[in-house]
């Protein structure tokens, strides 16, 4: 039994100078076989394992991660959480995630620092304005909290935004989701890892999957850097590497892998207490608890697996941030990095069965899957356990690219994150 974290355990451990905290999860060697193997130890993979063990009573599960937990996009993203998507299918899935976020720290007994500080999506021109109003109304019809703010209301909420006449990016209004906000990305990976481990899931790090064993059209195991591991079912949750994995299994995906970058500034005193995003200029900003501005950008314009991001994208992003918030002009940036995001043609994810029996795929979250982590894991666990999708992810199949039933969230989701 994993001991619970509480104010008492904090006090008890203070007595020994915090040198005796228990391990949060084990690091076992892989067994010869499991009922289910999850490939990829990001937030989505770990959440899948957690809900498989917790809600579906599956006892023998392994998560196989080639690097370290959360070392992919989970630990590289700008942590914005919201559920105000346009289409019914997306709204239902992301809102399910939002409801799980609201109880996640309690459920996991791990503080994921979910902070519902509100998310603003700015409108800079008449077209943005109409799209914003359309989305706000669509959200409300779906029971999702969503408000429209005019320019003056935006200024009241974010006094440092530049609304003087003649600016390069005039602000005409914004959508606001008050239940949106941010969470601590690493804590999400660690919290799910600890929760899954406590339920008996083996988390195997530094173990790369190099191939699948497929017999008569059915997956029966994975070839790894630590040898063959047999499994009844395999779930692939590898974000930017999904096409590489699909190629190993013998099929192709509609996914393109591109670098998406982010930056943080030097830490400063509290200056912005909400999240401001602008889809039109591909820039968004929030402030971390440490005081750094967390700034995100657009994607590179071509396929790439180098975890960095082009210099001109950095420049465009910072130029836009400085236009909107002139007082940030003298801030210095501390770090810049990139993650490889898996973008689908309709900017919606794939949570689906595949042409290979008992092989399931969770990918295509692109630039905006962190917010969906709990809901994605929840729905994917159902899909694997029951060998059929839950109502929530039934539309997010791989087959939709054949039927034409796309869920086009490109412009509709305001900005892609």
């Amino acid at each position: 039994m994993t001991p619970r974290y509480s104010v008492f355990s904090l006090l008890r451990n203070a007595l020994s100078y915090h040198e005796n905290w228990q391990q949060a999860w084990r690091s076992p060697e892989p067994k010869a076989r499991y009922d289910v193997i999850i490939v990829g130890g990001g937030g989505h993979g770990l959440a899948t394992a957690y809900y498989l063990a917790k809600l579906h009573g599956i006892k023998s599960i392994a998560v196989v991660e080639r690097g370290w937990l959360g070392g992919g996009n989970t630990g590289r993203n700008t942590t914005i959480v919201r559920s105000n998507y346009l289409w019914d299918q997306s709204a239902a899935l992301y809102e399910h995630a939002m409801k799980l976020w609201e109880g996640l720290s309690q459920d996991l007994n791990y503080n994921v620092m979910f902070s519902q500080r509100g998310v603003l999506n700015l409108a800079h021109n008449q077209h943005d304005l109409r799209e914003t109003l359309r989305r706000v109304n669509a959200n409300r019809l779906n029971g999702i909290d969503s408000e429209f703010l005019n320019a003056q209301q935006v200024k009241e909420m974010v006094p440092i935004i530049d609304l003087r006449e003649g600016g390069r990016y005039p602000v005409l209004g914004a959508s606001l989701q008050r239940r949106g906000g941010t969470a601590r990305h690493d804590a999400v990976a660690w919290g799910y890892a600890r929760g899954a481990d406590a339920l008996g899931v083996d988390i195997i790090q530094e173990c790369a999957v190099n191939g699948f064993r497929i017999e008569n059209g059915k997956v029966t195991g994975v070839e790894t850097s630590k040898g063959l591991i047999e499994a009844d079912k395999v779930g692939v949750v590898t974000a930017g590497h999904s096409s590489v994995m699909a190629n190993m299994a013998g099929f192709r995906l509609p996914v393109q892998s591109v670098p998406l970058q982010a930056l943080v500034s030097e830490p400063v005193k509290p200056i912005i207490d909400t999240v401001v995003m602008s889809g039109a200029v591909h820039a968004y900003v929030s402030q971390s608890d440490k005081g750094e501005l967390v700034i995100g950008a657009g994607v590179d314009g071509y396929i790439g697996y180098g975890q960095r991001g082009s210099m001109q994208v950095t420049e465009e992003t910072l130029a836009a941030i400085c236009e909107l918030f002139p007082l940030f002009r003298r801030m210095r940036m501390l770090r810049q990095w990139g993650g490889i995001v898996d973008v689908c043609p309709d900017a919606s994810p794939i949570l689906s069965k595949t042409p290979v029996q008992n092989l399931y795929l969770n990918c295509g979250w692109g630039t905006g899957g962190f917010k969906a982590t709990p809901g994605s894991g929840w729905a994917f666990a159902h899909t694997i356990a029951k060998d059929e999708p839950h109502e929530l992810n039934a539309a997010f199949t791989l087959d939709r690219f054949r039927t034409g039933f796309l869920i086009d969230e490109h412009g509709a989701a305001a900005v892609a994150h």
């Binding site: 096409s243 590489v244 995906l253 509609p254 393109q256 396929i303 210099m311 001109q312």
Partner: protein, 97 residues
């Protein structure tokens, strides 16, 4: 930022160019005969390789002409530039996991 050598204008910065996606995807000769699965293949499915990629670029801020590039998607090295309509030179596929 990449430095791309346009076959017509010479070496220029990436910001002058526009990427046109995977190269050598042929428009179906008899569109009416295609099944839905074949359409999906043509419109949506892509190789997205981690390694050698054959892709199209347009020199939008220059001569505005299209050409093909063979590029390593991990090191970002440009391994060959060759004209539209011609086959790629023989190159190591460089598949990384």
């Amino acid at each position: 930022m990449l430095q791309i050598t346009c076959p017509h204008c010479g070496a220029r910065a990436e910001s002058e160019f526009h990427n046109g996606g995977e190269a050598h995807i042929e428009r179906p000769k008899d569109p009416a005969a295609l099944t839905d699965a074949e359409w999906a293949e043509f419109v949506f499915l892509r190789d997205n390789p981690k390694g050698l990629l054959l892709e199209r670029w347009n020199h939008t801020q220059g001569c505005r002409r299209w050409f093909n590039v063979a590029r390593d998607t991990v090191t970002y090295e440009i391994l060959a530039v060759y004209p539209m309509g011609s086959q790629p030179p023989a190159l190591d596929p460089r598949r990384y996991v």
